[in-house]
């Protein structure tokens, strides 16, 4: 790909994540957009293409009413947990195709309290699956985690190590929702939700918004002192044998997650090895998910996670800093905004201007990974 076609992130904006009781989705999104535009030194009128994603907080393109009726093409995406990735891939594709020189991507959401609840029919399942108490996302994460720990000889204490680090990073991030550190023992002793996972090992649905401004080639370098190159972005859906949420049955053979495909494709396209990653975001809907995803994305080998976690490698000052803003565990998961929060954090880390804990030593290569129902994953490789 020529330099002229390279897509860069030249501005970022974020509305604080949390319950945000008194702010609606559009207001959060508007603020994130204005902050991202200001960060890029652009006005809304300068934006040639826009993409927005929200699962439950409204139609993103109605934001033009607040930002300005400029006639800009504005695409709405709604792709579950991969909404942010889908928005980003849509905008980057439009820029590469020459549709515009600048684009804005926005993701926002606002959810009810408690675990996500879905009608059985929307997943092609009979009512029996829900009435008999099996249609719960938290059960899925617990069942998948227990099997994974068993197969790879990882002790349950590793789940607490993940949550403790997330909360430690969240405590230093002014945009995070949960900002109180907890010792590992307190996390282990927390109210059981679905063992082996306790309440502190799960993220919660929440509210928040993130916006990014993209630009191509030389324009990016004119706008931004240190633009972050979108070296690769891959979106994948599940293949046969993948262990997904709300599965009344599984095939008796190895799990093949869409995360494996999406990450491999992203690294391949970027020409980067996982070992070259200086700062990473992986989907941590719960502690077990992070452990599983560290290996599925190729950032470590399966079974190696405990050594990495215990040795501090995934801490902000470690060899492979993970979820440096506290991840989903500390920020919650407003679905439409969550994937873009990961990109926002990695962009700031690569520009050495993190809002919370900064990875030392001028990191140059970043990676993000989202995964969600019903078996979708999106990964990016970012570089300066």
């Amino acid at each position: 790909m020529s330099v002229r076609e390279d897509v860069h992130i030249v501005g970022v904006g974020i509305h604080p994540f949390g319950r945000n009781e008194h702010v609606d989705g559009y207001t959060m999104a508007e603020q994130a957009c204005r902050d991202a535009l200001a960060d890029a030194g652009l006005a809304w009128h300068d934006i040639g293409y826009a993409v927005g994603g929200s699962n439950e907080a409204g139609k993103p393109d109605t934001l033009v009413d607040r930002l300005g009726l400029t006639g800009v093409p504005f695409v709405n995406v709604r792709n579950g947990c991969a909404t942010g990735g889908a928005a980003l891939v849509t905008a980057a594709g439009a820029l590469r195709a020459g549709e515009a020189g600048t684009a804005l991507v926005v993701g926002f959401d606002k959810h009810e309290r408690g675990a996500f609840s879905r009608p059985a029919a929307s997943y092609g399942l009979g009512d029996w699956y829900a009435t008999t108490g099996m249609m719960l996302t938290t059960q899925y994460f617990a069942l998948k985690t227990r099997r994974y720990l068993h197969e790879h000889g990882i002790p349950e204490e590793a789940l607490a190590t993940v949550a403790a680090r997330a909360l430690r990073n969240g405590a230093r991030n002014p945009m995070a929702w949960r900002r109180k550190e907890l010792p590992e023992q307190e996390i282990m002793d927390g109210a059981p939700v679905n063992p082996p996972l306790t309440r502190y090992m799960f993220c919660s649905p929440a509210a928040g918004a993130v916006a990014l401004v993209l630009a191509t080639g030389e324009r990016a370098h004119d706008l931004c002192e240190r633009p972050v190159r979108l070296a690769a972005l891959s979106l994948r859906t599940r293949r046969f044998g993948s262990f997904e949420v709300f599965s009344p049955w599984l095939a008796p053979e190895p799990d093949h997650s869409p995360s494996i495909d999406a990450a491999a494709a992203a690294f391949d396209r970027a020409g980067v090895r996982p070992s070259e990653v200086d700062v990473a975001q992986v989907q941590d809907t719960d502690s077990g998910s992070e452990i599983i995803h560290l290996a599925e994305t190729g950032l470590c080998k399966a079974g190696e996670q405990e050594t990495l976690l215990r040795g501090g490698a995934t801490e902000v000052g470690g060899r492979l800093p993970v979820n440096t803003d506290g991840g989903c565990l500390a920020n919650g998961e407003p679905i439409g905004a969550s994937g873009l929060r990961q990109v926002h954090e990695v962009v700031r880390q690569l520009q050495s201007r993190a809002l919370g804990a900064q990875v030392p030593g001028s990191p140059r290569v970043g990676f993000t990974h989202v995964y969600g129902a019903p078996g979708v994953s999106a990964c990016t490789v970012l570089a300066v």
């Binding site: 609840s117 009979g126 009512d127 009435t131 008999t132 679905n194």
Partner: protein
């Protein structure tokens, strides 16, 4: 004796209980519940296939909090219950586990049974499938 079940389509029989799965004549993929087309290969048809009634626990957890509706509890108060996946060899099936908590472990031999799930409109118990510890299975 006939019992009310959550969904008759799940069962190839209830006394003794048998689960009604389907099998692809092309690639031998087995599914539960029954479905009309193979999720794996282009074969357009699936044949009825009664699932084995014995297997081992593949993973497990306990539902500690009361799920939101449409979940229906059996009695006045919510009682936590175990759920898991059971490896039946040809397929791994998700199921309620009628196993005491202290005995829950991956690899536990289990056998298909029926348990009351909730009370129907007329006050009668509606049953669903579950797996309980297979006392004979330990000597396999």
């Amino acid at each position: 004796m006939d019992v009310a079940v959550v969904d008759p389509a799940l069962f190839a029989g209830t006394a003794p209980p048998r689960l009604a799965g389907s099998r692809c004549p092309g690639c031998a993929t087995v599914t539960f519940p029954r479905r009309g087309s193979c999720p794996r290969c282009p074969s357009g048809t699936m044949a009825a296939h009664t699932l084995p009634e014995r297997g081992v626990v593949w993973s497990w957890t306990v539902q500690e909090f009361e799920p939101k509706p449409p979940y229906r509890r059996l009695g006045e108060a919510f009682v936590p219950y175990a759920v898991g996946y059971v490896d039946l060899g040809v397929v791994i099936v998700e199921s309620r586990l009628d196993v005491p908590r202290e005995r829950l472990r991956i690899g536990l031999p289990v056998r298909l049974t029926m348990i009351p799930a909730f009370l129907g409109e007329d006050g009668t118990e509606v049953h669903t499938f579950a797996f309980s510890a297979d006392e004979d299975g330990e000597i396999w």
